[in-house]
């Protein structure tokens, strides 16, 4: 045993990943005497040394059977060696970078500017002072007031404004209706004369003239509404601020009394809202689930058959706890438990057609006293969208080699019209005037969602994931998701289609919710799954599906009638509903219960609480 050469031990030391760009191997040499022999231990070590010196030492002792009487010597030598060499490495690196500056390889200005920027952008000490933000001040004031005895007054004032807007809107509707009637009779007359005294051209001219008049009228009303809401908003905000100031100045109970008296005068006005919607019977079922392998987080799930806009519309004041709901929404507006809603939209950021138009109509029914009008918000989204596209394309030019899944055709799409959004992308609008929702996610979907074969990698699903992520980062604790990824049913959506789609969305959302636990540390949430319900008397109904499109529902219902677990009352309600609403395109009650049976299977709902006597 003259010398002990260690060549293997270095192989075990892992190369650190990219963190330190230079690793060097150095040899540790240690000489010792064992009896009459002079021994030399040589160990190649990778610098910087990542592992624990005690472990390295223990391993060397074990591997080379080094006599124990030199154990301590070896340890001292080893740690001194490593310490010395590490310092040398530090010095070399440090001087290299200093040299780079003196030789002019590095730009001093660029360097110091980068430092300056990182200080200015990240530390309060060096950051530019903040300009006071009116929005946030108002938010604070409002949040304080709504949690005070003044909340009732605030709500009543808001309601008051709402009523006057409603009156205006019904007036508008009346006028438009009258115009339309007048035009219809006029058109009838014209049509009657067609071929006799008037030609096609004349008819067209009349039609276009009608259209123009209608446009003018609508514009007139639109601008009037806008003006009124603008005034309302201004008044309201001023009032809130002054009320707050008053309250602060004199903390006496007198003012509180005044505030309390006020609402009773307003009560009479409550029933005058003419355009409010009747409470529709909703089908809903709630579940409590525990997610997670060992540590479980409790969440609430709800399956609801309702129209997506039901969560936005205001119901008749005083009926069905509408006021409470209103208060609840107002109380939580600036809190950290917000409510969100996913609205499926097409690829254009506007409110001209379809569900977007309907939503805009609902959003205008009541003045938003806190956030900009929907149009203004959408305009801002447009701006941001263009900016985002510019950012992306410049980044992609920099790193063209990064492959994105299906990026090519998408890019083409973007190049065609950069102001359109793509499936899976979404924009967010904020509202204080909707009944149960503060935040609306406008998720872009394409016709693909109507087909039966979308997968978990579909953009719409990925969009849902990102929505849930935003929910995590911005404390949105209740979110409503259209379960079938459509807002209204059509012919091709058969029962198997619905079941398949529901299963996919349930499973994906479950996965995302489990993922969420790692994002936010497991906060209890409520997720509402929405299945479509369009009511006959809904004025916004655009699509009427022929009765032939739905026989499967009846069949299905009849077949599983016998083993249905639900009470007979519900069953009869279903049959009655079917008779009543021949043209409703919604999910049948039977379908609803199939879905509600599927949910606990996928989410492993803990069974209902069983109360037992002590045994």
């Amino acid at each position: 045993m003259a010398s002990t050469q260690d060549s293997n031990s270095a192989a075990t030391m892992k190369k650190s990943k990219g963190k330190v760009n230079s690793t060097a191997e150095k040899e540790f040499v240690f000489e010792f005497r064992a009896g009459k022999h002079n021994c030399v231990l040589k160990v190649p070590l990778q610098f910087p040394v990542q592992e624990n010196i005690s472990d390295l030492h223990g391993r060397l002792m074990l591997l080379h059977k080094i006599p124990c009487y030199i154990e301590n010597d070896l340890k001292t030598y080893l740690s001194n060696f490593i310490e010395r060499e590490t310092i040398l490495d530090y010095d070399r690196e440090a001087e290299l970078s200093l040299q780079r500056l003196t030789t002019g390889d590095g730009d001093v200005n660029q360097l110091t500017n980068a430092w300056t920027r990182s200080y200015v952008e990240t530390t309060l000490e060096h950051a530019r002072p903040e300009e006071p933000c009116w929005d946030e001040d108002f938010a604070d004031v409002y949040h304080e007031l709504i949690h005070s005895p003044a909340s009732d007054t605030l709500l009543n004032l808001e309601h008051n404004y709402f009523v006057s807007i409603s009156e205006l809107i019904s007036e508008r509707d009346m006028e438009i209706k009258k115009l339309q009637e007048r035009q219809a009779t006029e058109m009838d007359k014209v049509m009657h004369e067609l071929g006799n005294t008037l030609s096609d051209q004349d008819v067209n001219a009349v039609a276009s003239q009608h259209f123009d008049t209608q446009q003018v009228l609508e514009n007139k009303w639109a601008s009037e509404l806008k003006q009124v809401t603008g005034i309302q908003k201004h008044e309201y905000q001023e009032w809130v601020i002054s009320l707050h100031q008053d309250l602060q100045k004199s903390n006496s109970s007198q003012i509180t009394e005044e505030i309390k008296v006020q609402p009773s005068q307003l009560l009479e006005l409550e029933d005058s809202g003419a355009r409010m919607f009747e409470e529709q019977p909703q089908l809903e079922e709630s579940f409590t689930i525990h997610l997670g392998a060992q540590l479980k987080t409790m969440h609430n799930l709800r399956l609801v058959r309702a129209d997506v806009l039901d969560f936005c519309k205001h119901r008749r004041h005083g009926s069905g706890g509408a006021k409470l709901r209103r208060l609840q929404t107002a109380l939580s507006l600036y809190s950290s438990s917000l409510c969100g809603l996913v609205l499926l939209v097409d690829n254009r950021v506007n409110s001209y057609s379809g569900i977007k138009r309907e939503f805009a109509t609902v959003a205008k029914e009541c003045t938003d006293f806190h956030f900009p009008f929907l149009e203004a918000q959408l305009d801002e989204v447009q701006q941001v969208l263009l900016y985002a596209r510019a950012q992306r394309s410049s980044k992609q030019k920099e790193q063209p080699e990064i492959p994105r899944n299906g990026g090519d055709d998408k890019n083409k799409n973007v190049e065609r019209n950069p102001s359109n959004i793509l499936p899976g992308e979404f924009y967010i609008s904020r509202h204080s005037n909707l009944s149960e929702v503060h935040v609306v996610f406008h998720l872009c979907v394409d016709d693909n969602v109507r087909s039966g074969n979308i997968t978990a990698r579909d953009p719409a699903i990925m969009g849902l994931r990102n929505i849930l992520k935003v929910c995590c980062t911005h404390d949105i604790t209740t979110v409503t998701v259209p379960l079938l990824l459509v807002h209204d049913m059509s012919e091709e959506m058969t029962i198997p289609w619905c079941l398949k789609r529901a299963e996919l969305v349930f499973k994906c959302v479950k996965g995302f919710m489990m993922e969420m636990a790692s994002w936010d540390g497991g906060i209890s949430r409520t997720v509402q799954f929405l299945v479509p319900k369009k009511q006959e008397n809904d004025p916004h109904i655009l699509l009427i599906v022929p009765v032939s499109g739905r026989p499967h529902c009846t069949e299905e219902g009849g077949r599983s009638n016998s083993n249905s677990p639900h009470n007979p009352n519900k069953r009869s309600a279903y049959t009655a509903g079917l008779l009543e609403c021949g043209s409703i395109e919604s999910i049948s009650e039977e379908m609803f219960y199939q879905l509600s049976n599927m949910l606990p299977q996928i989410f492993r709902v803990s069974s209902t609480l069983t109360l037992t006597s002590k045994h």
Binding site: L62, I87, A94, L124, A388, Q391, R392
Partner: protein, 888 residues
């Protein structure tokens, strides 16, 4: 940890940088959030204890990657000097320099660099000694890589730090993080600091940051940096008047080239400190509980013992360790976020105001305004101890120093002891949140552990009441009987050389209790790997089975900073509860275990057992992960702790009772469901009320005769008297296997025979003990603690009359059951019905008929049925059989 003394608790907060969107780790799993990385790396800082360094106490994660660090804190710092605009005397400067260097040198020894040295991070305690604060920031943020802000303050940055560049997250051109800084950068910062002290003014204060940094870089061309700086700041005269050794020190610190600049260790030995160094004794690390050296080796008692009590200022709380005080502060309602919010360090905007406008498909969001509340404000806020003081004002001084010699009085005699004894009866969850109760318990256990292993019995006794969470790691180690120099043993185990198991370990770790912040951090993974490898390497006869990772988790969590102890605990736990479970071929061990388990189910809950057997839902389908991991695979850590607090006090058959208790909690659902539903139910075990589970398993344990859980593959008896301080073996804690084997003990049984029997066998010993037919007439236990028992003799009437054990009833097998398996109505079976609920021991000639009889009884839902091992023949030699006097 050190006592709090005159220090205070301080908290500061910062944000970890957010991860990029939708990026996966190399293993396909999601990336670990930076805050968790920091949290993991922070842990080691808790062990860095030095008189010149502020003790780190705790870190906690808030919403949105916020971190709050709690550490020892002092209100005064060197920036007080600067505010007053005074210069410090040369002696003071030397003293400060020396003390700072002491701290720096200690850090360097532990592989850490301060990097954020500045006037307000050099705190002064009440005696005017230096305490370095925020020294761990650079370490815990992985050299600044996990946070968005730069570490350090512009004026104090060393030139090489500036030259190596600042890494900015929005900078896409800089892909690699800046190089880590070495120990010498702190020496430069110290130089600047000392210069400021000498000059009585701050350096480079009035120019903007980039000019400042440029100026520092240009110092490289100067010959005498100290003079240049002095000229620049118009204090040349003051500097010139300094004594030579101070000037020398300044020059050494403010050496431009790192290679010429000394390290803190070199500077400490420098002659400039000749007059100062003699006043300081080198710091000696206190000896830990498990070490090879004597813990009392350095103990020196003063001549007059009363000297110790001199500085008695009645503030006993400040004599407690910092982490204890912090723990109690939290219990007394302390809320870090609230404290910081009150001081306006945390300012949060309503979330609805900070929403983004637009989000791309890959999750990148746009239109979100820069939120000022995310900027770094590293002001340290002092945590007020008033509330805690108020809570504890009624605790008498004696309570802080309980006397341990008298083992009779468990709790200190104070006026609040009445309250405490009522507190013991409260649920554990409430006790764990009771400030005063926890204080008393922590103090008691702290003292007991200091006296470990001498006070081992006392630890056992107190652990039966409860274990305070703060000291759980050490108490468990004490319960498992850990002794000796575990650190040396652990270090001498090769944890680095690759072994074939590595791949499996690598796969399992990222899936083991990852909801927990500590265990999911990269540091946690590294430690996991090392402890598991150490165990695998040091147990060559055993192998790594999946599940060992879960088993390791509670020990690692409790001893995160002491891998050696985690390893030692695990190595002691496995032979005790899972003997030979980790054999390469463990099927015979597991099969026997599961069979005994199903016998225990039949013993305690025949109805459930009948149902489960009927649908074929046998323990093999669900219970293997339960027992192989001792329930760590199915429960979250906080439940495991409560479960194991009791498990560690019981013997190796206690897990059976836990298993039965879990089944009983799910009883209704199991009874109502078929095979498929049961499989589904157990694939993801529903919430279990763990306190109820523990309570019920203790009850089940008390009802189980000891020999009923006999296993031939259990751990063989240990050599007697293996530990000097051996605790008195009690009925509950000692294993059946540990008892001396006699003729009356149970005989090993082939697995197939064991499987054939529905009810467990018990030994003749147990029967004698439980029926109190004792041989010598001495009963070991009082009657109250024993399960009630009835012996049923199923031999024919003739045999019975020839001799039977007293108190037994005779139900001849042939007459007992009707053809359809129902119990025949007769006086004897009537008696049996009356004794329903007692332990029923079936005695016969042949084991087969006894087993059959027992099976029938279980079928008709008789609980607690067992068979006498060896039958009546076992009892014959004992002479315990009696012949009844003939009835006339």
């Amino acid at each position: 940890m050190r006592p709090l003394k005159d220090a205070q608790l301080g908290a500061f907060t910062f944000f970890a940088s957010a991860l990029p969107h939708d990026v996966c780790g190399s293993n396909g799993l999601p990336l670990t959030p930076n805050s968790i990385k920091i949290l993991g790396r922070f842990q080691i800082l808790k062990t860095i204890t030095h008189p010149r360094l502020c003790q780190y106490v705790d870190i906690s994660r808030g919403k949105h990657e916020r971190l709050i660090v709690v550490a020892e804190h002092f209100e005064s710092s060197l920036s007080d000097f600067q505010k007053q605009g005074k210069t410090a005397s040369p002696e003071k400067v030397l003293q400060i320099a020396y003390e700072v260097l002491e701290g720096l040198e200690f850090m360097n020894k532990h592989g850490m660099v301060h990097r954020a040295l500045s006037a307000h991070n050099v705190l002064m305690d009440c005696k005017g000694n230096v305490k370095l604060a925020k020294f761990g920031l650079y370490h815990m943020t992985d050299h600044g890589a996990d946070v968005g802000f730069p570490t350090g303050y512009p004026s104090y940055l060393a030139p090489e730090v500036i030259a190596q560049g600042s890494f900015h997250r929005t900078d896409s051109s800089h892909d690699e993080a800046p190089l880590p800084s070495g120990p010498k950068t702190d020496v430069w910062s110290l130089g600047v600091l000392l210069f400021e002290l000498c000059a009585g003014r701050r350096l480079l204060q009035n120019i903007d940051i980039s000019e400042r940094l440029k100026f520092i870089l240009t110092l490289g061309c100067m010959d005498d940096i100290v003079t240049v700086l002095a000229e620049e700041h118009g204090c040349l005269d003051t500097i010139k008047e300094l004594p030579e050794n101070v000037l020398q020190l300044l020059r050494k610190c403010l050496t431009f080239l790192p290679s010429k600049r000394p390290t803190p260790a070199e500077l400490l030995g420098d002659p400039v400190f000749d007059g100062v160094s003699c006043r300081y004794t080198p710091f000696q690390k206190p000896v830990s509980l498990f070490s090879s050296s004597l813990r009392c080796a350095h103990l020196e008692l003063p001549e007059d013992i009363s000297d110790l009590c001199k500085d008695d200022d009645n503030d006993y709380l400040s004599e407690r360790a910092i982490n204890e005080v912090y723990h109690l502060w939290c219990l007394a309602g302390g809320d870090l976020e609230k404290e910081l919010t009150n001081k306006e360090i945390i300012q949060s905007k309503p979330p609805i105001c900070t929403l983004a406008n637009f989000v791309l498909e890959d999750g990148e969001s746009f239109g979100q305004g820069r939120d000022r509340s995310f900027l770094l404000d590293d002001t340290t806020v002092t945590l007020s101890l008033c509330q805690l003081g108020n809570r504890l004002k009624d605790v008498a001084g004696e309570a802080y120093y309980p006397l341990l010699e008298d083992e009779q009085s468990s709790l200190p005699q104070s006026n609040s002891s009445n309250e405490l004894s009522t507190a013991v009866t409260l649920p554990l969850i409430i006790r764990e949140r009771d400030t005063e109760y926890q204080l008393i318990r922590i103090i008691l256990f702290d003292r007991l552990l200091k006296a470990y292993p001498y006070k081992k019995n006392f630890v056992w006794k107190e652990a039966r009441v409860d274990i305070p969470p703060l000291v759980r790691g050490l108490v468990w180690a004490a319960l498992l009987g850990i002794e000796g120099d575990i650190q040396a043993k652990y270090e001498s185990t090769d944890k680095d050389t690759p072994i074939p198991t590595d791949r499996q370990i690598e796969v399992d770790i990222p899936r083991c209790h990852q909801y927990d912040e500590l265990l999911s951090s990269p540091q946690g993974h590294i430690k996991f790997r090392r402890v598991l490898k150490a165990w695998v390497v040091s147990h060559p006869d055993l192998v790594y089975w999946q599940g060992l990772d879960s088993l390791c988790a509670p020990f690692l969590y409790l001893n995160f900073n002491n891998e050696a102890l985690a390893y030692a605990c695990m190595s002691a736990f496995i032979p005790k509860y899972l003997y030979n479970f980790f054999l390469k071929d463990n099927s015979h061990v597991i099969q026997e275990y599961l069979t005994v388990f199903s016998q225990m189910i039949a013993f305690h809950d025949p109805e459930l057992s009948n149902h489960l057997n009927e649908i074929g839902f046998i323990p093999d389908l669900y219970a293997i992960p339960w027992f192989l991991t001792m329930f760590t695979h199915v429960f979250p850590l906080h439940k495991i702790f409560h479960l194991w607090d009791t498990l560690l006090l019981g013997n190796s058959s206690f897990p059976f009772c836990i298993g039965v208790a879990i089944l009983q909690q799910l009883r209704d659902r199991l009874l109502a469901n078929g095979f498929n539903e049961c499989i589904l139910l157990f694939s993801d075990l529903p919430e279990i009320d763990i306190e109820r589970c523990v309570r019920e398993s203790i009850n089940l344990f008390c009802w189980s005769p000891r020999s009923a859980t006999y296993r031939q593959h259990a751990q063989p008896p240990k050599a007697a008297g293996d530990n000097g301080f051996g605790k008195a073996a009690t009925y509950y804690t000692s294993d059946y296997q540990d008892m001396p084997k006699t003729d009356l003990s149970r005989e090993p049984l082939a697995l197939c025979d064991l499987k054939a029997e529905v009810s467990p066998r018990i030994s003749a010993e147990d029967l004698i003990d439980l029926c109190e037919l004792s041989l010598a007439g001495l009963t070991k236990r009082t009657k109250a603690g024993k399960p009630k028992i009835i012996a049923v003799d199923i031999r024919s009437v003739e045999d019975f009359s020839r001799g039977h054990i007293s108190g037994s009833i005779n139900i001849p097998f042939s007459t007992a059951f009707s053809p359809d398996g129902e119990l025949v109505q007769c006086p004897a079976t009537g008696i049996l019905q009356n004794y329903r609920g007692r332990v029923i021991v079936i005695i016969s000639h042949a084991m087969k008929s006894a087993a059959m009889f027992a099976t029938h009884l279980v079928k008709v839902n008789f609980p607690r049925v067992c068979i006498l091992d060896g039958g009546i023949n076992k009892l014959k030699p004992t002479g315990l059989l009696t012949v009844p006097s003939p009835q006339i």
